[in-house]
C-alpha cells in the first residue's frame, strides 16, 4: 500500500477517528491516549509536514538516481571511447573500400541483387516493391500517428530514430530472399512475415525503464495494437534491450517496437556496422570472430536497468 500523500483522494477526512481534531477525549481515541504520544498538530499542520517529509524523501531518491545514472553515463563514455578505438583498428585491418563490388552489369533492369547468390527476378522484385509501397501508406496514414499519440502521453521518454521507421528496401529484400529460398514463401507471404518493415524505438531513463515499458505496452494495446511477440534481450551477450512485434488489426500490418535506454540504443548504433558486416556473409572466420567479440564487448558495457531482465518473453500462440 502506498503512502498517504497530500492530495490523494483517500486522504482521511476531518471526522476520521485518527484525526487529532478529536480532542474532547471521547471514543476510542481517548482509550488510546495513555499509550500513544498525543498528536497535537492540526490536520493542516500534519499534512504540511507530511508534504515536506515526502518531498525530501523523493528528492533524496531523485538525487541518488541521478547520481547512479550520471556514474553509468560516465562509465559508458569511457568504454565507448575504447570501443570506438577498437572499431578504428578493425577498419584499418579490414578497410571497407577494399571489399569487392557486386557486379550487376548482366542483370536485367528491374531485378535486384545484393551479392553473387542473392537475386530477385524482375517479377518478384516488382511485387515486393508494390507491397513496400502499401506498407509505407499504412505507416503514414495510421500507424505513425498512433505511435506519436502514445509518445505524447509521457514526457519522460520519447521515440528515437523516428526517421528510420521504414526499413530500407534492400534489407527487406534480403529477408524476403531468405524466406522464399529457405522457407518456401511466396513474395507476398514473405513480405507479410517480416516483423520490422516498420519499426519504432522508445528510449527511457534507466530508473524509469521497467515501469515505462509496462506502461507503453498497455498504451499500445489501448490504441488497438495486438501484441504478437516480445523478446527480452537484457541478459543476452550481443544485444541489449527489448524488441516486440505487434499487429495493426485493421490492415494486419506488422510493426516492431523496441524498448531501449539511451545507452543500449547507443550500443546498438555503435555495433550496427559490425552486425551488418557479419550478416553480409563476406567476412572470413577470423574477421567474424573479431566482429562478434566487438559486439559482445559493447553489449557487456551496457548497464541493465533495475527490473528490466525480469520482463518476461511473450509469444502469441498461432
Amino acid at each position: 500500500m502506498g503512502a498517504d500523500r497530500p492530495g490523494d483522494a483517500d486522504m482521511p477526512p476531518d471526522d476520521h477517528p485518527d484525526r487529532r481534531n478529536d480532542r474532547d477525549g471521547t471514543g476510542d481515541q481517548a482509550a488510546r491516549r495513555d499509550n500513544d504520544p498525543a498528536e497535537t498538530r492540526t490536520r493542516q499542520e500534519y499534512y504540511s509536514q507530511l508534504r515536506v517529509t515526502v518531498s525530501r524523501e523523493q528528492s533524496a531518491v531523485a538525487r541518488q538516481t541521478t547520481a547512479e545514472e550520471r556514474a553509468a553515463a560516465e562509465k559508458w563514455h569511457e568504454t565507448t571511447a575504447e570501443s570506438r578505438w577498437i572499431w578504428t583498428e578493425y577498419q584499418r585491418k579490414w578497410p571497407p573500400a577494399e571489399r569487392p563490388v557486386v557486379d550487376r552489369s548482366k542483370d536485367p533492369p528491374g531485378s535486384w541483387r545484393v551479392d553473387t547468390n542473392r537475386v530477385l527476378g524482375v517479377a518478384d522484385n516488382s511485387r515486393v516493391d508494390a507491397e513496400c509501397d502499401r506498407i509505407a501508406k499504412r505507416e503514414e496514414e495510421k500507424i505513425s500517428p498512433a505511435l506519436r499519440a502514445i509518445e505524447s502521453q509521457d514526457p519522460d521518454r520519447r521515440l528515437v530514430g523516428f526517421e528510420h521507421r521504414l526499413k530500407g528496401h534492400d534489407r527487406i529484400k534480403e529477408k524476403i530472399y531468405d524466406r522464399i529460398k529457405l522457407l518456401n514463401d511466396s513474395p507476398e507471404e514473405a513480405v507479410s512475415h517480416v516483423s520490422d518493415t516498420i519499426r519504432y524505438t522508445f528510449q527511457y531513463r534507466e530508473s524509469r525503464y521497467t515501469q515505462g515499458v509496462w506502461s507503453d505496452i498497455e498504451r499500445l494495446k489501448g490504441e488497438g495494437f495486438e501484441l504478437h511477440k516480445l523478446k527480452n534481450y537484457w541478459s543476452d551477450d550481443q544485444y541489449r534491450g527489448i524488441n516486440s512485434a505487434w499487429i495493426e488489426p485493421d490492415s494486419g500490418q506488422r510493426l516492431e517496437v523496441q524498448f531501449h535506454t539511451r545507452i543500449s540504443y547507443e550500443a546498438k548504433q555503435l555495433t550496427h556496422t559490425a552486425y551488418e558486416r557479419t550478416r553480409g556473409k563476406q567476412a572470413d572466420a577470423f574477421e567474424e570472430l573479431v566482429l562478434e567479440a566487438f559486439q559482445k564487448k559493447v553489449a557487456a558495457d551496457v548497464p541493465v536497468p533495475p527490473g528490466a531482465a525480469d520482463i518476461p518473453d511473450y509469444r502469441k500462440e498461432a
Binding site: 522457407l183 516483423s195 511477440k229 577470423f286 498461432a318
Partner: protein
C-alpha cells in the same frame, strides 16, 4: 577434432517445432570460427545470416535446437515437397 554441428528448427508464425518452416545448422569449424547454413528449396545447404539476425534482436523466426535425426527428417520433408516424392 572434426567440425561440431548444432541443428535448429526454424519456426515462424505459421509453423511449429513439429512442423517447422525450415532447418538450419551452425558449424563450429575445426580451424576456428563458425558457419551458418540452411537447407534451401534448391535442396542444398546455403549460407544464411538468419540466426545471426535473431541473436541481434530480429523477431521473424524462432530457432529451436534439435537433434541431427530431427534435422534429417526436416531435410527429407523439404526434399519430398520440392521433388513431389512421398516422405516416409
Amino acid at each position: 577434432m572434426a567440425d561440431e554441428i548444432t541443428y535448429y528448427a526454424i519456426v515462424d508464425d505459421l509453423s511449429s517445432r513439429e512442423q517447422p518452416a525450415g532447418v538450419l545448422r551452425r558449424i563450429y569449424l575445426e580451424a576456428g570460427g563458425r558457419r551458418d547454413e540452411a537447407f534451401s528449396q534448391d535442396l542444398v545447404w546455403e549460407r544464411t545470416a538468419m540466426l545471426v539476425s535473431a541473436e541481434r534482436g530480429d523477431l521473424d523466426n524462432e530457432f529451436i535446437e534439435i537433434t541431427e535425426d530431427e534435422a534429417n527428417q526436416i531435410v527429407e520433408r523439404i526434399r519430398a515437397r520440392v521433388t513431389g516424392a512421398s516422405s516416409t
